[in-house]
């Protein structure tokens, strides 16, 4: 077996004609399609050869008999990506085409067309729900702008962009298959030599843009977790621009009231640091104290200040 060479899968599997044309071109360079991975397509290095590739949509894995008949006609099964099965034949021999009747081929795509349409409907509802949730965070907030700056606004917007991209992909694939089905039903054959370069370029640009974006979105919460820390507020002076309880109360009898402790941090007297992309330094102070012998104006309890 020759050396396996990887190429990024930058085009949609639904672009049947473009992929067939690309595989043929690779074979001309001595790279023969071997298998599909999740991100990569694997080619086996060998002699440059004129090879025809055909991608067929099949609901079930073809039977032994079916593969034998295909092979008898010169078509070898190479690999499959879901329901898309790739067959190849020697480019120089005059093999009978895999599909000789575009209308029948159009019928075979009807089921896929229906499936993609149902997919699109379900995803549309999910998107509606997703955007509704996103919007509700800000619409039902008293201080939406403060919340945007303090919270995960940037991340949420990036997530919206990614979701929109996924939505666009689902719509695009549905339209591609529907148009292909309709043109087959009108008797037009698939263009096996369709230009694939532009689509692969575009796919490459999208990948370059979206991969770091997706990684960034995943990365942000980790920074958030790393930067969020709680400390017990020291009784002595701290180097933070805050007004301390002693400065408000100005009473020598004021004593600290220790609160509930969690992980060694006094929850009643603490500094909590937080982080967001738009507001990288955030801190919040809790401080509790008691003045012995004094009461609230309504005569209840010792003085408690927070």
């Amino acid at each position: 077996m020759g050396k396996l060479v990887r190429r990024l899968m930058l085009d949609d599997i639904y672009a049947i004609g473009r992929n067939e044309s690309w595989f043929s071109n690779m074979a001309k360079k001595g790279l023969h399609l071997k298998k599909f991975g999740r991100i990569f397509i694997y080619f086996e290095k060998g002699e440059p050869k004129e090879t025809k590739y055909r991608i067929d949509y099949l609901k079930d894995f073809p039977s032994r008999e079916q593969l034998d008949v295909y092979q008898d006609c010169g078509w070898d099964y190479i690999t499959n990506h879901g329901y898309f099965y790739v067959f190849s034949a020697d480019g120089k021999s005059c093999t009978t085409e895999l599909h000789t009747d575009p209308i029948e081929q159009g019928f075979s795509l009807s089921e896929l067309d229906k499936r993609l349409r149902n997919n699109l409907i379900i995803i549309s509802f999910a998107m509606l729900l997703f955007f509704g949730l996103m919007a509700s965070i800000y619409v039902f907030n008293d201080q939406p702008f403060l919340f945007m700056i303090k919270g995960h606004f940037v991340q949420q917007m990036l997530l919206v962009i990614i979701e929109l991209h996924i939505f666009y992909t689902v719509i695009r694939n549905y339209i591609v298959i529907r148009n292909l089905k309709n043109s087959l039903l009108q008797g037009k054959e698939i263009n096996h030599n369709e230009d694939y370069r532009q689509a692969r370029w575009l796919g490459g640009i999208f990948a370059v843009l979206f991969l770091p974006l997706a990684l960034f979105v995943i990365f942000i919460p980790f920074v958030d977790i790393a930067k969020s820390k709680d400390y017990t507020l020291p009784e002595a002076h701290v180097n933070l621009p805050i007004v301390r309880l002693t400065e408000i109360e100005q009473n020598p009898n004021l004593m600290r009231e220790t609160g509930y402790k969690l992980n060694g941090v006094d929850r009643g007297n603490r500094v909590s640091y937080d982080w967001s992309l738009l507001a990288p330094i955030q801190y919040e102070i809790d401080e509790h104290g008691i003045v012995n012998g004094e009461m609230w104006e309504d005569q209840s309890g010792n003085i408690r200040l927070a």
Partner: protein
């Protein structure tokens, strides 16, 4: 050769099971060839023979049509020994084929004047 497919699209093109006439050439010849039960392997040769070498059917088309006809119960599997399946036409299939044959014959009849005029 592009030809009009509007008769194929019944109920917006989704319900293909009612589709009996007009038939695609592939469907017509497969039904015709399956008047004698046969397996996929020899069907292609049988079709080429029955059409006097005019129809050379691709294997993808052959199995695409077989799958669809089976789903529409126009053909059935007589025998499946695991290695090869033997297909045969059903009564529904015969009725469809007869109707299509009549339609084609009528078309020829209707076009008879052509021979006198050309």
């Amino acid at each position: 050769m592009p030809y009009d497919i509007s008769p194929y699209i019944i109920n917006g093109g989704d319900s293909l099971s009612n589709l009996k006439s007009p038939m695609t050439e592939a469907m017509y010849y497969i039904l015709l060839a399956l008047l004698n039960p046969n397996h996929g392997y020899q069907l292609m040769a049988a079709i080429e023979q029955v059409s006097n070498g005019r129809v050379k059917m691709g294997p993808g088309t052959l199995y695409g049509v077989l799958t669809r006809l089976q789903k529409d119960r126009l053909i059935e599997i007589l025998n499946d020994d695991g290695r090869r399946k033997t297909y045969a036409i059903t009564e529904d299939g015969k009725a469809s084929l007869k109707a299509e044959y009549k339609r084609l014959k009528d078309m020829i009849q209707d076009g008879r004047t052509l021979e006198e005029r050309l």
